[in-house]
């Protein structure tokens, strides 16, 4: 007998419908899976057989043929296990498909329970677009499946759950998830709910290498760097912090998640899709409103940062979409890997081309980078001697290519905080206060720019910002002449100045904003950028 079930495949961030056809007919007991399966999928045969038996069903001693249609599309992963397993049960007439048309997703364990799989959100979205109204997913993936509107999503714990679901109403008592009304994006936690600090689970999802969020109250000293960070976050500008070890670069960066306003609905859905494909949403983690904060280690490979691998998975730049990519020890990253950041920084997306195909992932991220001034970290330190050989500090910063440095709109140099300030001194501002100012400035910018942050302003729009302030224009001309700014750098300076003005609540980019923005441009002076030291 033949059974047909519906499921989906994901490529990039988009899904496609896949039909699972199972035929059980008399013959030698053998199981074939056809339709361009990869290794994980071919192993489904073994998983499904064990799962069926351990869930209390009988594995038919007949000829089983599983076809994944359309046959020309490459399928990968273990998300088809469940559909294959249930298909075998239906085709061998152990259950009757009386519960309506259910699409099924999930990986089977040998004991018959279900495992979370990546990409559930885009798969369910694809099924919904194709008119599929009812979807069974692993319970751990239920939260993300529920983000899709117009679909009844049910969380399943194992093969027996799925069998009851497909068999019809009588079997649905024991199911783990209640029949909740279908909800869409509105099912996300409301804006503002995400607490700025603490160990909220969704906060942890986004942090790698064990970075816990920090409140700015815990960061003493560094008033200038704090301000630079505020400007960077308010305008979406890329930021480079240079300073000796222990100056507070990493601490400031870890405060970022608590300083950014929550994602809006569209953004949250984009971020959730990416997280789903990357497999970050399994284990019942809920997609949240918190902006992603990614901090890959400096040994990260090209594929890890930009994306790729045999399945063309998204890389850190995409996982940081609508959020922050924090690169600590920037000069220690592989140079080729860093230069690959130029495309996403410029275009807001990244194209991965491999023999297996081509995908485009969104990558509209804010880059925050930190590095030591030299290998030992103490170049220019007033107290501690730098132990690098002559010329080494210059070589060290030159490991970051000029074009990448050029894309870091703000550069601040952090000194070491004197112990006096660490122990006493004024109480620093809390994250909540700074976050409120940032949110206000971002609102101002979005209202004026048609929804865009200042960092995304076109060159012409940036130039227009200083139009009505003749003194500001004079200063700009002076600066351009003195610093030999290229046209691109003039635009960058103006974008930053626009943000400075937004933070101050000024309607126009005035002289003070231009000067302050220039003060954020290259305090690293001779070694980063300008050619002439003296």
């Amino acid at each position: 007998m033949l059974a047909t079930l519906v499921t989906a495949v994901v490529s990039g961030l988009h899904g496609a419908l896949v039909r699972v056809e199972v035929d059980v007919s008399p013959g030698l007991p053998v199981c074939h899976i056809v339709g361009l399966p990869d290794a994980a999928l071919s192993e489904a045969r073994e998983r499904v057989r064990a799962a069926i038996r351990n869930a209390g069903f009988a594995y038919p001693a007949s000829r089983i043929t599983v076809n994944l249609a359309p046959a020309d599309r490459r399928k990968h992963g273990a998300a088809y296990d469940l559909a294959i397993g249930v298909g075998i049960l239906v085709a061998s007439e152990q259950i009757r498909a009386g519960g309506g048309a259910w699409a099924l997703l999930g990986e089977l364990s040998l004991d018959g329970t279900l495992q979370a799989v990546p990409g559930v959100l885009p798969m369910v979205a694809t099924l919904a677009r194709a008119g599929q109204r009812r979807v069974g997913v692993p319970a751990a993936n239920l939260e993300e499946a529920r983000l899709v509107e117009g679909v009844e999503a049910v969380g399943l714990d194992g093969l027996d759950d799925a069998a009851r679901l497909v068999a019809g109403p009588r079997g649905r008592r024991a199911m783990s998830a209640a029949r909740r009304p279908v909800i869409g994006v509105s099912g996300l936690p409301a804006a503002g709910v995400a607490a700025p600090t603490g160990a909220a689970p969704e906060g942890r999802v986004a942090l790698v290498s064990g970075l816990e969020p920090v409140d700015l109250r815990e960061v003493r000293g560094q008033p200038f760097a704090r301000w630079a960070l505020e400007v960077a976050l308010a305008g979406g500008h890329n930021l480079l912090m240079v300073g000796p070890p222990g100056a507070g670069k990493t601490l400031l960066a870890r405060a970022i998640p608590g300083l950014l306003p929550p994602l809006d609905e569209d953004e949250a859905l984009e971020v959730a899709v990416i997280a789903s494909v990357a497999g970050l949403l399994g284990d019942g983690r809920r997609p949240g409103r918190r902006r992603p904060f990614r901090a890959p280690h400096h040994t990260a490979s090209y594929a890890a940062l930009v994306g790729g691998g045999p399945r063309l998975l998204p890389g850190e730049v995409t996982l940081a979409h609508r959020g922050t990519l924090f690169l600590d020890e920037l000069a220690e990253f592989d140079r080729g890997v860093l230069d690959a950041l130029r495309q996403p920084l410029e275009e807001g997306s990244v194209v991965i081309s491999r023999a297996a195909g081509q995908v485009r992932y969104p990558a509209r991220l804010q880059l925050v980078a930190a590095m030591n001034p030299c290998r030992c970290g103490y170049w220019g330190d007033p107290q501690r001697a730098c132990c690098c050989a002559p010329g080494d500090p210059e070589r060290y910063v030159r490991r970051v290519s000029g074009p990448l440095l050029d894309r870091l709109d703000l550069r601040v140099e952090l000194g070491r905080v004197p112990p006096r300030e660490l122990l006493g001194g004024p109480e620093p501002e809390a994250s909540a206060v700074v976050a409120a100012r940032i949110a206000l400035a971002r609102e101002r910018a979005r209202a004026r720019n048609g929804g865009r942050l200042n960092a995304d302003l076109s060159g012409a729009a940036a130039l227009a910002a200083a139009e009505s302030e003749p003194r500001a224009r004079t200063r700009l001309a002076e600066l351009a002449e003195a610093g030999a700014l290229s046209a691109r750098n003039v635009h960058r300076l103006l974008r930053v100045a626009r943000t400075v003005a937004d933070l101050a609540g000024a309607p126009h980019v005035d002289e003070a904003a231009i000067l302050a923005a220039a003060g954020l441009r290259d305090p690293a002076g001779d070694r980063l950028g300008a050619a002439d030291a003296a």
Binding site: P223, E394, L414, L515
Partner: protein, 384 residues
Amino acid sequence: MDPSERIAWLALAAVHGVGPATFGRLVAAFGGARSVLHAASDGRLGRAAIKVETGRRLPTEVVDRILVAAAAPDAATATLERFGLWTLTPLDPAYPSRFGVLEAAPPVLYGWGDPAALEDHYAVGVVGTRRPTPAGRALAARVARHVAGRGAVVISGLAIGIDGAAHAATVEAEGRTVAVIGAGHDHPGPRAHRALLRRILARGGAVVSELAPHAPASRGTFPRRNRLLSALADAVVVVEAPSRSGAINTGHHALEQGRALFVAPGRPGDPATAGCLRLLRETPARPFVGLAELDEDLAALGIGPVRAGDRPVAAPDPLVDLGAAERSVAVAIARAPSGLERLVAATGLPPGVVGGAVTLLQLRGLARIVDGAVLPAGPLLERG
């Protein structure tokens, strides 16, 4: 010197391995550079003992190189033309008379710029470490600007750090400065100082070396350069030197050559100035305690402006047309050069205002940022 002897002189001096001492002995032994080249061609050079006391001979590879030079003596001259260099030999009237104190004066001095800068009546060397503290950098600039304002030519070595700060402050004050480099003019100092080098030349200064254009810098070239640096100065000021620094070496040369040596003291135990303290303890160097005292000491030694004690007309206060915020930032950096973070703490102004003020001061030529520290520049150096 007749033209063909001069060509031979330049060719012989350009041979790698022929230093000032060897050059002097060879020319003395054979009676002229041309004769040395002839001697190389007919094989006498290889057999000649160049050091009578020891009977030491020239290494064969040097003899071979002289032979090559003898075959085409014009090649050295052509190279000089290509680099746009002038040359001075001890037989030229314009050869720096200050080199008279040297035991082995360079047979050829190569240079760019104005050779007259080497014969100015008042020259002060400012030297120090390649890795100065912000305060050391500011002090070097302050000393250079001060003596340049009183008519001195500032002599230094074009290295990163104190040297660069001294040269830069001098050209900024429209003064003349001479860079004595430790390599040939094909490698004129660190790449970061190319623009500074052009400004030195544009201001009537000079960039000189005793090495032929293609000679690379090596372990020995910088210490040997230091003896020329101190010789060209009437007084040398060591601004900041850790215990192992070329500036210490320059200081010793200065004393041996009878030059006045001033050393800026530091705090005991501070590694940045350990070398300075040792110089003060072990040599008759005078401590540098202030610009007025420097003038006084120089005048007592008979070094300096022709009329001792004439102060230039007091310049207008550089801060007069600045706003209140810029003024307090300017005062803070004149007092203690520091990073932006410290400036925010010192002035109590919002970071954006401090950043803007520093930008404006940079535009006015009153401040510059080096390695994250905001340093006073230009007229602001005269305060504090």
